[in-house]
Amino acid sequence: MTESSAAARSTPETVEQTLFEKRQKIYPREVHGTFAALRTAAVVGLLGLYYGLPWLSWNGRQAVLLDLPARKFHIFGLTFWPQDFLLLTLLLMMAALSLFLFTALAGRLWCGYACPQTVWTEVFLWMERQVEGSRMQQMKLDQAPWSARKLRIKASKHLLWLSFAAWTGFTFVSYFTPATKLAQELSSFTVGPWESFWMVFYGFATYGNAGFLREQVCKYMCPYARFQSAMFDEDTLIVSYNAARGEPRGSRKAGSDIQAQGLGACINCTMCVQVCPTGIDIRKGLQYECIGCSACVDVCNDVMKKMNYAPDLIRYTTQHAMDGKANRIIRPRVVIYAALLGTIAVLFLWLLAARSPLALDVIRDRNQLYRERAGGIENVYTLKIMNLAEHPRVFRITVSGIANLELLNSPASISVPAGTVIDVPVVLRAREAELKAVNSAVRFRLTAADDPTQSIQHDATFLGPRP
C-alpha cells in the first residue's frame, strides 16, 4: 500500500463532507436606489399583469383564456386551435432567442428583473420585512429561543405568505377556467377536483420557491443559470467591482486622506455582501451565482455618496471597458441572434395573418372498403368541418378527381356555429367504368358560402374493385 493510494482513499471522505454542507440562510438587506427602483417597477408591472389579466374581458369573454378542456386558446381577439401548434412553437423560439439576445447584450437582465423566481422572491422578502423587520431584526429573531412573540411573528409571516400563495394559485388556474366562474365556484365550495388540485399545487410551489428555496433555485436548479455564460462575451454588461480603484480596502475615518493611508476607495463596510440575494461577495470577481440584480451597485453608490467619493466603485460594465478597450454593441453573436429572431418573428406574423378561418379533415369509414350499389361503387367518409371564425358560417362541399363523381346525402349548404367542429357523414358514388385502379384519388373542397375565395381542400382515396 503506497501513500498515494491512501490519499486516494481519503479523498472521497473530504468530498462527502463538502457535499453535505449546510446552507446558511441569507438575509438580504433592504436596498434603495436606481436599480432597486427599476426592479420594483418590473415586479409591480409583471405581477400586476399576472394577477390582473384574468379579470380583463374582451368581446364578452376573458381576454386571455387558455381553455384546455375545450382545446382552444383565446388571446384577445384571436382563437388558437391545436392545429396552430406551429405558431406556439415559433412563439417559444422567439422567447428563447430574445433571451439569448438580451443576455448577449446586457447579461443576466432576465435573472435580475424579470424571472418569476426573482419577482416572487422580491415580494416574499418584502412581506417578510413588513412582519419581521430589518435584516438585523430577522437574524436576531431567528437566533432567539421560541417564545409567544416569536411564534406570533412567524405565524403571521407564514399566514401572509400562504394567503399570497393561495391567490397566486387561484390566478394560475383562472388562466384555464374563467376567473369569474372560478371565484363563484370557490365561494360556493363547488370547485372541480382538478382545479382545486392545481390551485393548491401551484400555491405551494410559489410558497416553497419564493419563501424557502429562493437563491438555491438559481444556484443549483436553474438550467439557464448554467448555460447563460455561453451567450456572454467581452462586451456583455456585467456587475463588477473596480478592484484597481477599491483596493487596498479598509476602514477609515470620514474625510481622512486615503492616499496618505495607502487605502483604496472600498471602506470594507460589507454592505455589498449584506444586500446580495445570493450571498456572494462581488469583490471576489464575476461569479456564476451573481444574478445581475445590481443591489450591490445601489448600496455601494449610497456609501460612496456618504463618503463623498465618486460613485460606481461597483457598477455595470464590460470586460472590454475594464481592460480599457472600446465596446462594440454590434458583434457577430448579436447580429446572428437578432437576425434569427427577426426571421422567426416575420414568419410568425405571416403565418398568423395567413391562418385560414376554416379547416377540413376527411376520415374514411374503416368498416368497409367500398360497397356496390345499383348506381355504382360507393365509399363512405366522415368530414370534420371546422369554423375557426368567431361567428357562425355556411359552407359548401364539392368533390372532384373521378369523372361523374356524385356526392350523396350531403346537404347543399352546411352551417357551422362559431368556433366549433362538426362531423358530416357523406357518401361518394362513382360509376365502375370510370374507375381506372383499385385506388383513385379524390379531392374534397370546402368553400365558404359568403366568400367563395375562402376555400380549403383535402385529398382522400376512393376504393373500388379491381378494374
Binding site: M1, S5, F20, L68, P69, F85, E195, Y220, M221
Partner: protein, 89 residues
C-alpha cells in the same frame, strides 16, 4: 453542490420538461380521442392533462434521480484494498 441540491436540480429540470412535454403531446393528441382507441379510465380532459403531466414528471425525475445516484463516488470502504491499489497504482 450539496446532495439535496443535486436532487432538487433533477426535480426542477424534470418539472420544466414535463410542462413542455405536456404542451407538445396534448397539442397533438386529444385525450378524448385517445379514449376511443385505448381503454382508459374515464377522466375529463383536465384530468387527463394532469395525469399526463405527472407521468412525464415522474419518468423524467426517476431517470435523473437514478443517474445522479449512479454518478456518486463509490464509498471508499465498499472496495477491498486490493481493488483500490489496483485502480490507483
Amino acid at each position: 453542490m450539496p446532495a439535496p441540491a443535486r436532487y432538487g436540480a433533477v426535480m426542477w429540470l424534470s418539472f420544466l420538461l414535463a410542462a413542455a412535454a405536456t404542451g407538445v403531446v396534448f397539442s397533438l393528441i386529444d385525450p378524448d380521442e385517445l379514449r376511443v382507441c385505448v381503454n382508459l379510465p374515464s377522466l375529463s380532459r383536465s384530468g387527463a392533462y394532469t395525469v399526463g403531466f405527472f407521468l412525464f414528471w415522474f419518468f423524467g425525475a426517476a431517470c435523473g434521480i437514478v443517474a445522479v445516484a449512479f454518478t456518486y463516488p463509490v464509498a471508499p470502504d465498499a472496495k477491498s484494498d486490493n481493488e483500490t491499489a489496483h485502480t490507483h497504482d
